[in-house]
Amino acid sequence: MTETRGSNEALLEVKDLRTHFATADGLVKAVDGVSLRIRPGKTLGVVGESGCGKSITALSIMRLIERPGRVVSGSISFDGQDLIALPEDEMRDVRGNQISMIFQEPMTSLNPVYTCGDQIAEAVSRHSNVSKRAAMDRAVDMLSQVGIPDPKRRATEHPHQLSGGMRQRVMIAMALSTNPELLIADEPTTALDVTIQAQILELMKALREKNGMAIMLITHDLGVVAEMSDDVSVMYAGKIVEASDAITVFDKAHHPYTRGLLASIPRMGVKRERLEVIEGVVPNPLNLPKGCLFKRRCPYAMPICDNPPPLREVTPGHVSRCWLAPDGGKPELGEAPSAAEAEAAAKTLTVANP
């Protein structure tokens, strides 16, 4: 299924993506300079809280952003193709075929008027020249692959006749029916119960093994990220603040936001008197602070943070958008350099290819 390709060559490469929304209240920079890379067959977990821009990033990659939103700059390269420059009809060949997407709420993502079988068959016939019968056969086959018993009967049922977990399986079946190379999953298990979530995650892992598919997994749940991801990118207020492989991000987190998040979540089996806290709230997108967007909540904030921090390399393959030195100590430049010094330093420190 997947073409032979150097495992370090990216399947999807996003460089400096910016998606802005011109709302009545002002310009919202939902995604502001996001770069990420997904290797074939690997899973990238994109972590962040509400408003960080992770969903918009996914929609931008799929070119599903509508007015008043607009991808203003950046490049998205998939399998060598530049997705931003692609004409719409060619993009439609990519969407649902080479890149598939599943969403959080299966009830609103599946059409309530059509049967499940029809919806999957539609995806199949849209992207390949097969007969109606063959498309339906493939639909039934997909339903059984995702573990739905009695798939022939289920294919004739409508979404509302199925439970939440089943509907999510149908979504996965639909997404995988065209054998995509990349699956974008936007909070696929957030709306599901814990035991159902476990089923779906195991299912995704098994299918990933079988098809050699890459996954971009968007979530706010650090447990899910740890479970599923090879690489992790952490987003905050429209920017990537930290990125590396999963073990490094969890064990050796550098950015104060990541560290704060990891310290503040209650963990099973660890009973503490008080949880660590990240003070403050996510900044209002219409009123972003100057310089580092996290400074108002950061326990290490210093004057240098009034200058936008560079996305710097902490160790090879591990980047962090912070002024702190790679070992977590004070910035090399000191705590309060001049704006010019800071700007110059930022240029040199910024990683060219994050």
Partner: protein
């Protein structure tokens, strides 16, 4: 002249978790609580064609000063249970007693000997309500958008006789400072605040009447991860400072573990396990609890544990399985060769000693090997219900 409860009238609670509080008085007693929602159908929608058995015979008690956590998935009835205890929803049958005052005592259908339902009267109810409050899940829907913060937090005292505006304002300011909100916000409106702040307003509102008992219905589920810890710390602090008793309803097991002294696990309207928090998490005694704990993904990439994957979906509470409700998905039953007893006899909550109660016929068969086998036999592509 008001009869608002003031901090002076509170008794100091015993420290939670202290040994030898077997004598600790019970604050809330729930006996055999049942809540069915009728499903209407037929001509003109008048006949009842079925019932959603949201809560189907739950009994437990909450000790003064403790935090009792209640966990479960969709359809387990935990939220309904909270509302029925507070008499925000009418119960179908059962008895709830709050600090000695009977809130209601409705005989079960077909109960012998026949007796009348007993309800606390309007006056008595109003008085009791000062003592039991609630914090809701949705910070956006739980505050009336047309009322200012001062009006919202002050409504409780106002309704209970504190008509003096100055007195109320002083009380509101005190509450706002306790929840770490700026006192100048007293004149502002809910839409001007973030989710976490609104939740604090909701907590302040619940505290304004100085209740002993607060039902927290998923108070942090709708909040961002980085805000959850702020609110959880606040709830913990307030419990210690004001001697509160919590019924903490949530679906996030880690959150519940953090705040609770004891935990109850619910499944399809029934309480299947009830134990001290340490026991539940370290030595779960019901196969559902075991599976639940196994299913939670841990934020640690080194420990990608193998899990017990339950088969199938959660059955509908309108049509629960016979006998033990969990038997259709139970891994232990599979291990034991599908004993008949699970389908014919509904297990009652029984004590295993040291405060741990379980509603399973075969809890003693749960061993490390059994769990390992269950994990191993969890299909790589899990199938849905048979």
């Amino acid at each position: 002249m008001t009869d608002i409860r003031t901090p002076n009238t509170l008794t100091t609670p015993p420290p939670p978790g202290a040994a030898g509080i077997a004598e600790a008085d019970t604050l809330v007693r729930v006996d055999n609580l049942v809540k069915y929602f009728d499903i209407r159908g037929g001509l003109l929608g008048v006949s009842t064609i079925g019932a959603v058995k949201a809560v189907d015979g739950v009994s437990f008690s909450v000790k003064r000063g403790e935090a009792l956590g209640l966990v479960g998935e969709s359809g387990c009835g935990k939220t309904t249970l909270g509302k029925v205890i507070l008499r925000l929803l009418p119960a179908t049958s059962g008895r709830v007693e709050m600090d000695g005052q009977v809130l209601f005592d409705i005989p079960a259908k077909g109960e012998k000997p026949q007796r009348q339902s007993v309800y606390a009267g309007k006056e008595a109810m109003k008085k009791v309500r000062q003592n039991m409050q609630v914090v809701f899940q949705d910070p956006y829907a739980s505050l009336n958008p047309r009322m200012s913060v001062g009006e919202l937090v002050g409504e409780g005292p106002l309704v209970h006789g504190m008509t003096d505006k100055k007195e109320r304002e002083a009380l509101v300011r005190d509450m706002l400072s306790r929840v770490d909100l700026n006192q100048t916000h007293i004149h502002r409106y809910p839409h001007e605040f973030s989710g976490g702040q609104r939740q604090r307003i909701g907590i302040a509102r619940a505290l304004a009447l100085h209740p002993d008992f607060i039902v927290c219905d998923e108070p942090v589920s709708a909040l961002d991860v980085s805000i959850q810890s702020q609110v959880l710390n606040l709830l913990n602090d307030l419990q210690a400072e004001m001697g509160l008793t919590y019924l903490f309803i949530a679906h996030n097991l880690a959150v519940v573990e953090h705040i609770s002294d004891r935990v109850g696990v619910m499944y399809l309207g029934k309480l299947v396990e009830l134990a001290d928090v340490d026991d539940i998490y370290a030595r779960p005694s019901h196969p559902y609890t075991v599976a639940l704990l196994s299913a939670v993904p841990e934020p640690d990439p080194h420990r990608r544990k193998k899990r017990i994957i339950l088969k199938g979906d959660i059955p509908s509470p309108a049509n629960p399985p016979s006998g033990c409700r969990f038997h259709t998905r139970c891994w232990l039953r599979e291990q034991l060769g599908r004993p008949e007893r699970c389908t014919t006899e509904e297990p009652q909550l029984r004590s295993l000693g040291h405060g741990q109660e379980t509603a399973c016929h075969f809890s003693e068969e749960i061993s490390a090997t059994a769990v390992e086998n269950a994990v191993a036999s969890s299909a790589p592509i899990p199938t849905a219900a048979v």
